[in-house]
Point group: C2
Chain length 331, copies 2
């Protein structure tokens, strides 16, 4: 096997999304913070599911979405994440492998069910998630495939992994292995509330091991405890080699190699569901990075992939992203 | 309870769709007839699933889709169909109830798994289905809720029910009960190959009990063993009170009350997936009929509902159809 047989290995909570439309009044009645991700237990998941509208089931998980997007772009990708050997676990594994992602982690044969996220999509396209982590919290340091990490140009970590304690250890192990192998480490902050829960640990990992940081406006401001986006961006730039800051319809800011690039958002059609917008932006950006493309072009590919994903329900691409990127002449 | 507390009771195979994009070469390699519905066993379903692309899971079933569409339009609907008490069965029941459909049939607690249809969507938007009927074949005459049938203005039967022998008996019982209660019976022919398999039985039921017939061009021609659509339409008109013949992009023909109405198709956006187009047309048409609207208007509501469903993956509406119908000024 060549020393760089993978472009990216993604590590995250392996989750299937259960997506339904809802209005703001429903979110309020259920006490849900719009745009956020709340962790819920199995019982609460059952009660919320019983009250929400008709749904569709689509594989998800932040790093899982990014890995699927990368594979759809034609990159060589592996994924580490824990499912149970139940129906949703079979669905998650199928969807990864069918997309061309090497799925490395054996499923649990006992214990909690495969993770699911109840995703409520409001008429403005915004998504609000209530996640039952189930089997995904059972990801352990021994699930980290050292060989895959060593073979991958970039190890991509999902910030949500800070929530389950053993998964957090697994994430730290992966970062260390990647560093030792002379590879790059990328981290997505995932969610502002997740940042609030683990700010000190995020800051520590950022300073010690992270080369590429992905965050949206709320997340980067939460990390540096400021309401001033420019100040947060400056702080991020000082701490990591490349900081990629997404701002929804306002596009993104890419800071790295001593330069700051402003990248416009892309529109392909009506906004349906923002679930996975950041994850798919990361797919496009990492794809460009793995091909050594200039940073602004990496950002433009990211914007295009995000535009595809927000045009339909769910966070997995419905077209071959490689063709989409070619069809608009980006590469 | 009032004597007409329901607009429609739908009876069908309770199925969850597993939808994935595929190209024509994949259909050919798998020996699948494009546009058709083939019955497969559990083993074949597993093998085909392993080879098909990343998928999304959306509740389906022809009459199930029609019932969901009717509820989304604001009609009072009940549904009879058999699932197992497994994950997909829970999904199917949730999606019906969350849509406002009274789901009347208790799930199996043992035996085959909930039915699933592997739906391959080609770049032209056409869908090709391979269906494992599982628990749905266990629908029996005793599952027919006589009270619901007596309460409903229209009992809607799915032609696919002719395939499982006991379900066929259940369908005949439902038709008889509806007739005895002085209610209307509607039948959808479902699929040309299904018509080929059961032509004589369809013809018999049509002559004896059916007031409203839904069929597309291929199905009605298969029924009357002709390639001449006009001749098939004439034969249908002679046999049932109202014949509704859908012709994809060419719109539909409504024959009844001594008149023939040509109804244009509606376009709302790009064609993504034709799965459920006929089912949702039936939702709109039956909704109009239950409100005693003129036949051409029933057809126009049907066309609008079909237009919504073909704009996204899956056969369940992603918007409130009642609002859609109001927004374009149809009612």
């Amino acid at each position: 096997m060549s020393r760089e047989s993978l472009d990216v290995v993604g590590i995250g909570n392996a989750i299937v999304d259960v997506l339904a439309h809802a209005d703001d009044a429903f979110l309020a009645a259920e006490g849900l913070k719009k745009g956020g991700m709340a962790l819920i237990d199995a019982e609460r998941a059952e009660r919320l599911y019983a009250r929400m509208g008709p749904a569709v089931e689509v594989s998800g998980g932040s790093a899982g979405n990014t890995a699927a997007g990368l594979a759809s772009l034609g990159a060589r990708v592996a994924y580490i994440g824990k499912v149970r050997d139940d129906f949703l676990g079979t669905v998650f594994r199928h969807d990864m492998r069918a997309q061309g992602v090497r799925f490395l982690t054996p499923p649990l044969t006992a214990g909690p069910a495969t993770a699911r996220s109840l995703v409520l999509v409001t008429p403005d396209g915004q998504r609000t998630m209530s996640t039952y982590l189930g089997a995904s919290v059972e990801l352990r340091p021994e699930d980290i495939d050292a060989e895959a990490i060593a073979e991958a140009r970039i190890t991509y970590l999902e910030g949500y992994l800070f929530d389950p304690p053993l998964a957090q250890k697994a994430l730290r192990k992966a970062a260390l292995l990647a560093q030792r192998a002379g590879r790059k480490v990328a981290l997505s902050l995932s969610d502002p509330y997740c940042v609030e829960r683990h700010r000190a640990l995020f800051r520590e990992l950022l300073g010690a091991s992270v080369d590429i940081l992905f965050a949206n406006e709320l997340e980067i401001c939460a990390l540096y405890e400021t309401r001033d986006f420019a100040a947060a961006a400056e702080a991020a730039e000082a701490e990591v080699g490349i900081a990629v800051l997404t701002r929804s319809a306002a596009g993104s800011l890419v800071l790295g190699q001593g330069e700051t690039h402003s990248v416009a958002a892309v529109t392909l059609g009506p906004l349906v569901d923002t679930t996975g917008a950041g994850d798919l932006y990361a797919s496009g950006f990492l794809y460009g990075l793995a091909r050594d493309l200039p940073l602004p072009l990496c950002g433009r590919i990211g914007s295009l992939c995000a535009a595809e994903i927000i045009g339909h329900l769910g966070a997995r691409p419905e077209v071959a992203l490689a063709e989409l990127v070619r069809s608009v002449g980006l590469i």
